[in-house]
Symmetry: D3
Subunit: 237 residues, 6 copies
């Protein structure tokens, strides 16, 4: 299913919290990657199809600085091949004792138009990464170079990231709270429903901030549903 | 024992660090909830009697979105019934893989005059919560909806929160460092002693920042005690 | 080997990430202390030789508030004896349930010209510490007073800090990412090599931000090496 | 729904593994308490309705050896009041640093005809408990007396045990692998289905041990179903 | 390099401890999978080339009981295709909250002549597995069925198992202590050296049990080396 | 205070559980090392004064196989110098990813008359150690050689072992449950009191196994005290 700009815009307008609710209604309970931090809180919202990189533990004889001479090295290929508008999602086996990547590679992906990066490990040069207007999520800074713990194995295979399954083409959405993985097959429908849900929650939030209680409105009874319809019509949303 | 405004003001003027020292002198070693973060660092200080909510793990047949239709649902009752000036303390069993509550419920408690919220789990909509001038403490953001992990069981029973015992009516005090639970029976005396201790520490801090060493003053010898008395008198504290 | 101002300046100009790469080339894989946070992100860079303090678990009969009357207490001696320009590194056994030290002691070390403090536990009064232009690293705030968990045992013996070996005189370098321990014997050579590596990475970063790909430049082929030589000459670096 | 001897016998004849499969088919994913060990591997199978005890963290002033003088102390009441044939399930908040109970109390429950005990903490006097023909499950031995960490709060309320919800009257089933909680409302149906499933798996196991491959039989195709029917009829099961 | 019966026999005669020493001398520091338990302590020694199975986290729509109807399901293929004499090594992402496999599949692999099974998760039906004369290693029993956490993704690709890299064809050796992964390329040389080292350690152990001190013999000085040569000659080893 | 054979015998006759109760009455809450396993369950009881060994994390340049040539190496000195009748207690920083020691060194200590060994890490050659009639406690088997993680630093200094303080000369007592550290200064009094307490608990256990309830006897009322006195007199204990 093509990932349209309209769908991208809807995902960028809804929260990861709302997405988890919409996905639960469809039976998905394990979609939020816990314990991630957004390195640059001022970055634009993260939205895009997943392009994956799988790490396994490194081995001293195979993982030495010389490996980066090889243009076929999967980490370096990921940096140059992850399509613009996509999100690089890295399976670092929840190990942030060495870096998933560093500032130069991140900068290159930013310049290439990649939509953002997510790892369940850590990035090095995180202070530099924090300067880019580019959403990068990790668990904690990790100065040690990649090779100390990680061996880049595969590109664009299904992976786990922070205990959540990620299939290439799944839609990755991040906000100030963290990252949700939306199965690619249902992304458009989920975006639509989440967008609708967000309009309603904006209405409720406005009511609550105006002093109203939650009973009868959250969840809404018939009266609140009518009020919401009127509110929405008045605002053209 | 009534919780007076004077006692509240004293707690708001002392640090959680000082409170742990005062409590240790009375034999209490386990009063600080570790690993909490204050979502909005710009919020006012957290002080108030504890009102508790106990979660147990959720079960698929009992915990579905329909449960919130019931006005007797303990989470929703907590939101509407936690008395103004009190602090809602939630036993989330140190599990932040799903939310203890979300932005709309938090906003409602803020509007109702609740003093703040503490959970040893996580909140969803944390970026929205960060906009409110309202102290909310948790372990990490948790976008997934409550029902995925938590079942609201009881209101206002003694609980554990982050391995610390919390009895209804205990005084909850938070600052930029975290949250301390003061047994309700001794709250006034603890507030008084901590307030006194703070005046002394302000004196020491001023001396140290002026270049003085710690020996003889921290802890104070007879000479430093006299100096402190004079310093205090001069400032009318 | 004397620790010169020139070496200090070089360390202050390179990142902890670059240092881990230089150290890996010399066979050192375990030099970065993971999971540390810098309390005051606005503090100057941390550089200096290690002066160590070893804690063991406290015991109720030995560790009571009265111990601080003793000027020979190792924690208090550390505060007054850690040489100016050195870094106090504390082995807190990765336990941040009680404080490694508090605001007054930290302020005293700052005033005495100590270069900074690192603990694999936590500090209390962390909001006050955040006000000082002084680099202090820990795992998480810890309001409970020291005695609840820690007994100060030794000064300036080799220790572990966050699973990394630290020998007195090793060079401690911190940035926004965390802290690296450089074996003292090779500190000057490491500083030199890291400084050179940094110039090259600045060149690469500039190229990448200008839109260039990483192949052929990172790592550099013969052409990129020539370009870099010219770039460097032009900038007098 | 009454818990019949027939249902008890069926539960005693099926494995916890089979029960998790039957429960998954009904939508229950979180029914097995991980990381438990059976103290006496030679004990009879554990089956019985849950009777619960809830601990919260202890507090130094409330939890001292004198509390056991009080016959209303919930831990002591649990020992004398847990009905024969029931299983005492203890919410120890996954903390095995102090005991959930000790050998004398366990012996008393054994003598009273309690069916067994489960805690997500630890028991003390575990070598003595290992001598009783009585199923007791915990995470690890815990010599320190209860009061150091635990305060007995409530009897027979819904609890969490090892992240699994446990309601009074749920059926607790244990084997050499661990403990499963079966919702009380569906216990009879689950026992029936698990019993049937076990007959089939006995058939498959016999076939596999005879050298047959798993395809076509596990899961069974039409032919294997017919073979199974014949096998079963021949054995009168 | 072919894996000969002679090499297999040597591996079966040396301990995992000795293998880690031999591998460290060749620069390999990360070869032992920690925290594994051997389910049947009476099983024969585990030795064989690795055949791998990679799991990722399961997803509710893709992982339901019906998937096992498909003979192409990677878990079921692993059971029928892992070559005799090989060891199935499973990447379960260190998650033992659901089973890596169960008793019937393990029995089938035993019957097919597989050399053994290793998972960094857990097996279900572990009491049945303990009855087979077949070496199976896991972290802890896991009754819940596979699908609750695991999705079988790939066969015979490089994986991580318990933070250790495992490449197809690496030699897997297990004893009562745990499991070591020997890189396939150097397996023969490692087996030879470990076998030699074991003869020497048998000599030392005999000396020590006879009352001799370790100095001069462990490590050996020139005199002990001569003694060892004589001891060895006398025994024809 | 000399450690007499009579005191040793009393410690060998009481459980670690009873010792924690006696120590709690004297204000000691942190005396039991959690998560230890006894490698040889058939070994004699562990009792003796602590002789300590402190490890720090290893460093690649300092910790290579050649270090064992040096007879001054603290690990090797510990093996030859730990006094007969004493217990070697090792601070392994709770890291069992590499061995605290191996079978040959353990055998040597056994032969030298050392009373036993305790580490909060792991031992290698644990299957061999399990053959010795010698009490050795650790967290889990650890095949990798010591040098990969540990550097032996000091002999007989105060240490932490599993978060418990251990001072040279403290009395170390182990049973099937784990290990307790008794401060040396009060060892004799603690042994006496624990011995008395054990006689009483034997009485209670006998009563309970005879069918009596716990109320009035555990803790004992006046009547039970009289009964106990008679019971004791009758048995000459």
């Amino acid at each position: 299913m093509p990932f349209t700009e309209e769908t991208r815009a809807k995902f960028a307008a809804v929260s990861t919290a709302t997405l988890t609710t919409v996905l639960l209604k469809r039976g998905f309970r394990n979609v939020f990657i816990s314990d991630l931090k957004l390195i640059n809180p001022g970055a634009p919202r993260l939205v895009g199809p997943a392009y994956t990189l799988r790490y396994i533990p490194s081995r001293e004889d195979l993982d030495h600085p010389g490996v980066f001479e090889d243009r076929g090295h999967p980490q370096r290929r990921a940096v140059e091949e992850c399509p613009p508008g996509h999100v690089l999602v890295i399976d670092s086996r929840k190990d942030h004792r060495a870096a998933s990547a560093g500032g130069i590679l991140v900068a290159r992906m930013y310049k290439r138009g990649v939509a953002g990066i997510v790892s369940d490990g850590g990035f090095r040069d995180s202070p530099d990464i924090a300067e880019l207007p580019f959403p990068v999520y990790h668990v904690a800074p990790a100065a040690p170079t990649n090779l100390i713990r990680h061996h880049a194995m595969d590109l664009n295979v299904p992976i786990g990231c922070g205990d959540v399954p990620v299939y290439p083409g799944d839609i990755v959405v991040g906000d100030g709270e963290g990252v949700v993985i939306v199965p690619g097959e249902i992304a458009e429908a989920v975006a639509d429903e989440a967008f609708e849900q967000t309009v309603f929650e904006d209405f409720v939030q406005e009511q609550v901030m105006g002093g109203r209680g939650i009973f009868g409105i959250y969840p809404p009874g018939p009266e609140a549903k009518a009020e919401f319809a009127a509110w929405r019509a008045a605002r053209g949303r």
